[in-house]
């Protein structure tokens, strides 16, 4: 029942975000300058922002791209974490020690400068979509270190388990033991990491907007909509809609996904 409801919400969200681009008169960039910061109305159900742009249309357009990219980045980071942490925990010895040092280094370095350099390498006339894809790609490349440690700890804890010993005794290859026997037991950890990463990456995209990364105006993303909340005391309550939208999407995905189990 709950899963069905979640599917319906997600379908509605997806349909609305796709339709937003095709509705007559609906534009995420059109500025109604005589109606700035307008309260919700029939014409603008979520009101307008401080440039008079339709908040609802911007939110729906942002949903299209942000959700996809954030999920892809979270998946990418997770795969890297599994490769790095899994192999380190399983192989142990020098490789493990070297990988641990590498992970600690990844956690300590100021990767901000890599992101700034990436922005510099992009052509000035790069499309907002390109800029956004590059941003999430980099977040994915940089976001694996912390979960890799948790994966490594989990793999090490199963290393000497009975079922692993039995699998080896039966002649399983090491890679098969890792992939088919150990990693499935880490599903709770991997699921938690994936669902946590999506909103964390969206917020990171919002913060990176301060450095000129992320999509430029007027292209809406959840990140740059959330940046409006830097002044929470002066914005209208409708400006908090992206927080609700992100939370709703993540909650529904958790309900429908096999990784989320049946719980939120």
């Amino acid at each position: 029942m709950r899963r069905t409801f979640a599917w319906m919400v997600l379908a509605a969200l997806l349909a609305a975000s796709l339709a937003a681009g095709f509705l007559p008169g609906a534009s995420y960039s059109k500025q109604h300058r005589e109606l700035t910061n307008a309260s919700p109305s029939f014409r603008f159900p979520l009101g307008t922002d401080d440039l008079g742009r339709d908040r609802l249309v911007r939110l729906l357009c942002a949903t299209r791209i942000s959700l996809l990219l954030a999920a892809a980045a979270a998946l990418g980071a997770l795969i890297l974490a599994v490769i790095a942490g899994g192999t380190a925990g399983y192989l142990g010895g020098r490789f493990d020690r070297a990988m641990v040092r590498g992970i600690d280094l990844m956690l300590s370095l100021p990767w901000l400068f890599l992101l700034i350099a990436a922005r510099a390498l992009l052509p000035l006339n790069a499309s907002p979509e390109t800029s956004l894809v590059v941003t999430y790609f980099l977040l994915s490349l940089l976001g694996w270190a912390a979960p890799a440690r948790v994966v490594r700890a989990g793999v090490r804890s199963f290393h000497g388990s009975d079922f692993v010993l039995q699998a080896r005794a039966e002649g399983c290859r090491e890679s098969r033991v890792l992939l088919r026997h150990i990693l499935p037991n880490l599903q709770p950890v991997l699921a938690a990491q994936f669902w946590t990463s999506i909103p964390v990456f969206i917020l990171a995209e919002a913060n990176l907007g301060f450095l000129g990364l992320s999509a430029s105006e007027p292209f809406p993303t959840w990140g740059n909509l959330l940046r409006e909340l830097q002044s929470p005391l002066t914005v209208r309550p409708e400006a908090f809609a992206p927080v609700a939208a992100v939370a709703l999407a993540v909650l529904c995905f958790k309900l429908v996904s096999p990784w989320g189990g049946s719980q939120v």
Binding site: S29, L51, L124, L211, G212, S216, Q230, S231
Partner: protein
């Protein structure tokens, strides 16, 4: 003492309102009666001062501390913009602006009690003009490579002779805080630095030996201490003000002004047009790596004029600055009473005229897109610094405005160091949107902007020879006004510079921002100004009534 000078936000028009006004005046006198001497005044700095050496102050936070602690020979009054004597009772400029002689005030002492004399002025100027100092206070004095000759004919007279005439010499001394030749910590200003906690606050205590007295002979300043809280976040600064934890906000954002004025109209002040403006320009640097056809566009005066006419400045002033800005009329704000060319008017918003100019310049529109004569679609990137919300809004509005004439603008926000690198070193940008603050009222302070050979000639810096006839004319006019003694003649010359800039639009001046600030009702004798430090320029006469101060 007039408690409010400048544009008020409330004007009563009905008898009922008049009664209210009388009642308010009564309250004002009652409040003035409650004003006390002593107490602590608090406001925020938006960062740590980088230095407490007044000769090296170049960021706004260091300049704030210098203003509050430094004694100067003469001061530019922030309201009247006239020179007022301070440590010097009189001065004379002769030898065509090469020499200035000051007659100093008697019976003035430093904060440590040591007497002030011409030797201290000589010491200060010697230190200031040290070629290794590289100070923004010193460089405007450097009219030649020679060190100035400093003569001290008597303890209360000092004469400084420069190698070549210095244009607008007197006004430069407004920024020169006189140092003690004996003690580095002694000051001549109303306050002295008592404590500094990095990242937290700067505490200034009253200078008991300050030379100024009020009409009744009472030694100024009235307050005992100033606590400068270091707070970068404007929202938190606003919350502190609303709670009564700070007494004034020196620079208020327009949204915060509107919010405060709804809650407490008497706490906000709009002093009218300030010296800050917003502008954009196209990269015309010969060494820039832009394609040749884009360089051709940007170098075309009709193109720049057309872009200017397509930008809706009134909308920017209304939407971004909530009406607390006016469309710019040129490089000088109307706040600069003497130097502003009043004959200039803002470029009108006129799409038809913009399209006509473009057509005459060989551009044509097809399916809503503008093309040049070679068939290139007109598209350029507009770079600005990331993190500045109002500038990002302006850029988005300019983007929509130019779409109406078929120009596609890509907005690029960059972190400030990356933007500076592109502007000053690599020239890898197409158009740039930034703000400008004219710290100096005198146009000679802008020599490094208008001279084509200068590094700050942003659209095409460091030219070996002027690239255009109009830039050559500006060079000639700026040099002429710098060498001219007559203020009227200088004004005439600089008016012509403003006229040329208005016609050629190397900078597209967008809006002049108003000076907005907030004062606690506990403060008295406040006088909002359009020149920094706009809220506390007369801090030595400000008083605070502790009964209305709120919690401490």
């Amino acid at each position: 003492m007039n408690p409010r000078i400048g544009k008020l936000t409330y004007t009563p028009r009905t008898p009922c309102a008049a009664v209210t006004r009388v009642a308010a005046l009564g309250l004002l006198f009652a409040a003035a009666a409650l004003a006390q001497f002593g107490g602590e005044l608090r406001f925020c700095l938006h960062g740590d001062p980088k230095t407490f050496d007044p000769l090296l102050a170049e960021d706004s936070n260091s300049e704030a501390v210098r203003y509050l602690t430094g004694g100067v020979l003469l001061r530019v009054n922030r309201v009247t913009q006239e020179f007022t004597p301070e440590l010097a009772t009189s001065w004379k400029v002769d030898q065509q602006g090469r020499r200035i002689t000051f007659h100093l005030r008697h019976d003035v002492a430093f904060s440590d009690g040591a007497p002030f004399s011409a030797a201290d002025v000589a010491y200060t100027m010697t230190r200031l003009m040290d070629p290794k100092l590289h100070s923004p206070v010193a460089d405007p004095f450097r009219s030649s490579d020679d060190m100035p000759q400093i003569a001290v004919p008597s303890p209360d007279t000092v004469s400084i002779t420069f190698g070549a005439p210095v244009s607008g010499l007197e006004r430069l001394f407004d920024q020169v805080a006189i140092l003690s030749a004996r003690s580095p910590k002694a000051v001549l200003g109303p306050f002295a630095v008592a404590d500094y906690k990095p990242g937290v606050e700067v505490l200034l205590s009253r200078n008991g030996n300050y030379w100024k007295k009020d009409a009744s002979g009472r030694r100024l300043p009235y307050v005992d201490r100033i606590r400068l809280l270091i707070q970068e976040n404007r929202e938190i600064e606003l919350v502190k003000f609303q709670r009564g934890e700070i007494d004034l906000i020196n620079t208020l954002d327009p949204q915060d002004f509107e919010r405060l004025s709804r809650q407490s109209p008497s706490s906000v002040a709009d002093a009218g047009a300030g010296l800050e403006s917003e502008m954009m320009w196209f990269n015309q640097a010969a060494k820039s790596p832009l394609p040749a056809y884009k360089k051709t566009w940007f170098a075309s005066q009709p193109f720049r004029r057309a872009v200017s006419e397509a930008i809706h400045r009134e909308d920017i002033a209304r939407v971004v600055f909530k009406g607390h800005a006016k469309p710019s009329k040129g490089p000088i704000s109307p706040a600069n009473k003497f130097w502003f060319n009043s004959a200039l008017q803002p470029h009108p918003y006129d799409l038809a005229s913009a399209l006509r100019r473009l057509e005459q310049a060989g551009f044509h529109r097809r399916d809503g897109v503008l093309y040049d004569r070679d068939g290139h679609a007109v598209e350029f990137s507009l770079a600005t610094n990331a993190g500045n919300h109002s500038r990002e809004q302006m850029a988005a509005m300019i983007q929509q405005d130019l779409e109406a004439i078929g120009i596609h603008v890509n907005l690029v926000t960059l972190d400030f160091p990356s933007l500076i690198e592109r502007m000053t070193k690599t020239f890898q940008y197409e158009a740039c949107l930034l703000g400008l603050t004219n710290l100096d009222l005198d146009p000679s302070g802008q020599m490094n902007v208008w001279l084509s050979s200068a590094a700050n000639h942003q659209w095409n810096p460091s030219q070996p020879t002027p690239a255009t006839a109009w830039e050559a004319e500006i060079d000639q006019l700026m040099r002429a006004q710098a060498g001219e003694r007559s203020a009227a003649r200088r004004k005439q010359l600089f008016d012509r510079v403003q006229q040329i800039v208005w016609e050629q639009e190397p900078f597209l001046y967008l809006v002049d921002k108003n000076s907005l600030m907030a004062f606690s009702p506990a403060l008295h004798h406040t006088a909002p100004s359009s020149i920094q430090p706009q809220a506390y320029w007369n801090i030595d006469v400000m008083q605070k009534s502790t009964r209305l101060a709120g919690s401490r």
